[in-house]
Amino acid sequence: MLLLFLLLAVAPLGLEAYLLGELTRVMIYGMAACAVGFAIRHGGLVSFGHAAFFGMGAYCVLMARNAGYQDALLVWPLALLAVAVLALVIGLLSLRTGGVAFIMITLGFAQMVYFIISGSQSLGAADGLPLFGRDTLAGLSLDAIHGFHYLVLVALGLVLFVMVCLSRSPAGLALRGIAHDERRMKALGYAPKRLQLAAFVFSAVVTGFAGVLAANFYQFVGPAYLHWIVSGELLVMVALGGIASLSGGLFGALILVLFEAIFSEYTTYWRIFLGPAVILSVLYLHKGVHPAVERLLGGRDD
């Protein structure tokens, strides 16, 4: 874990812009995947609708730009607030049932958000819109990839730190219990639904933050951010990286980006290999790739 962070920190010194961009991308999707994993581990919530939050974050950047605002200190907190409100509504409705229905319902509502936003002319409809430059941070330009890379790195570190604190807090431990046995936690006097809702909203906000960063990274916002396949890929990252660890999503994102880089060399239809790879890893590599790698490196993980 520390090793990876060290690598990400020194990467800008040696890599050319394209490869550095790939690493930045890994961190952004890794952040979202960690958030998805958090909701699964803490609360037992398998969401197939996190694309809605990822996209909502991205589209908030676009909406702010349309309204003439471009500074991160103003735009980003507002974007996260908007994501939180959306997550609260979807969470309240989806948590009325549990288990499999939760997966289907989150997918359904994410699709609804997709239709609403991709049907809006002022947001570029089905084509999306370019952003023409990244947001500024208190007046500082983030257009150079090096500066942006470090910003994302700091943001990721911060998010993971908050996740560690939360997972060790009493609420975090209770949520872990709920993921394990909801009925027993209820009998112990906890209010599972309320804690689960909090975990869901937190997870959504972090994913929304990743969406904000992604919009700034690509300098483009379009319906692809909201597409259900994003939700699926985030879950794949969680599974590949290992569900048990906090930073599994980050490793999963790294694996997925590497996979794409390797196989798209050979064919544009590289997903034809990804599908079977995902199936095989689910069937035979139960705990994900990350624990195996960690063991090899002799590292420890929280």
Binding site: I40, V46, F48, L93, S94, R96, T97, G99, V100, A101, I103, M104, I105, L107, G108, F109, Q111, M112, F115, I116, S118, G119, S120, Q121, W228, G232, L235, V236, A239, I243, Y269, W270, R271, I272, L274, G275, P276, A277, V278, I279, V282, L283
Partner: protein, 302 residues
């Protein structure tokens, strides 16, 4: 009036096609407690195989036959190779592995078809429209599909409710242990239900071919709507799935037809043109939200 009748029939037609898809999903969940995301892929495979074989042989009927048989066999194969290992796994593993299947099928067909939408010809003898009464014409093919879907739905009901095989399926859903102890092969029942569900989805794909454009991604659109249906109707209730399918088909079709008309009374034409399409696309999700608020376990859940 004529417009309303036409939309009503379209809604019924759509709802019955949706039932063929959702029925398999609901049965597989009811008997094996499996969530199968790749169910929509089988719908897509059915449509593609029919178009392919019909184009090659010149006969729609041969294409339809091959399409249904191919999806049945694909269902058997998928159950044997992948799904069988997933019954005892968590819903997350089921979602991931079947998501891998979606990636595989989508990319395979994108590769084979070149990524352009295909158009299936209407079978001979079902082109044009028939005149119900003075001034009311309706597409002959759509009517045939409606009738065929009704017959299949009735057949499904008959098999499930009146035959020994159906009794075995129902028994396996409510108490698989007991069924096994009496001496039946529950795994075989599971395999047959899965393959039959696959063939039903394939049949829906076959019949939808001439009504829509046959393209990669068509499976997930119907999959998500089928999920909404299963949630609205109640998990595992085939009767609930039927009525929910009709309701969703009618709400979606009539919504798309009448939202612009109703909005036209209140808003300017420009507003209507930009808002109405996404508003009507959202209606079924609003219905799902309403059901979740009023009866979270679904309308027909036991």
């Amino acid at each position: 009036m004529v417009f309303f009748l036409e939309q009503l029939l379209n809604g019924l037609n759509y709802g019955l096609l949706l039932f063929l898809i959702a029925a398999g999903l609901s049965l597989v969940f009811g008997v094996m407690h499996l969530i199968n995301l790749a169910h929509g892929s089988l719908f897509m495979v059915g449509a593609f195989v029919t178009v392919g074989v019909a184009g090659w042989s010149g006969s729609f009927w041969l294409g339809a036959l091959v399409g249904v048989v191919a999806t049945f066999l694909a269902g058997l194969l998928i159950e044997r190779l992948i799904v069988r290992s997933l019954y005892a796994r968590s819903h997350l593993d089921q979602v991931l592995a079947t998501f891998g299947l979606i990636l595989f099928f989508n990319e395979l067909l994108r590769w084979l078809s070149g990524g352009t939408p295909l158009f299936s010809p209407t079978p001979d003898g079902f082109g044009g429209a028939i005149e119900f009464f003075d001034g009311f014409f309706y597409s002959r093919y759509r009517l045939a599909v409606t009738v065929a879907s009704l017959v299949v739905a009735a057949g499904l009901w008959f098999v499930l409710a009146k035959t020994r095989a159906g009794m075995l399926v129902r028994a396996s859903a409510s108490d698989p242990e007991m069924v096994r102890h009496i001496g039946f092969d529950v795994r075989l029942v599971g395999a047959m239900v899965f393959a039959a569900g696959a063939a039903l989805a394939g049949l829906a794909g076959v019949m939808s071919g001439p009504l829509v454009s046959v393209e990669v991604g068509m499976g997930e659109q119907v999959l998500i709507i089928a999920f909404v249906i299963v949630v609205v109707g109640g998990m595992g209730s085939i009767q609930g799935t039927f009525w929910a399918s009709l309701a969703i088909g009618l709400v979606d079709t009539l919504g798309r037809a009448y939202t612009p008309v109703l909005m036209g009374g209140f808003f300017e034409p420009r507003t209507v043109a930009s808002v109405a399409p996404s508003l009507s696309a959202v209606l079924i999700y609003v219905l799902m939200a309403a059901v979740l608020i009023a009866r979270p376990q679904g309308l027909f859940a036991r």
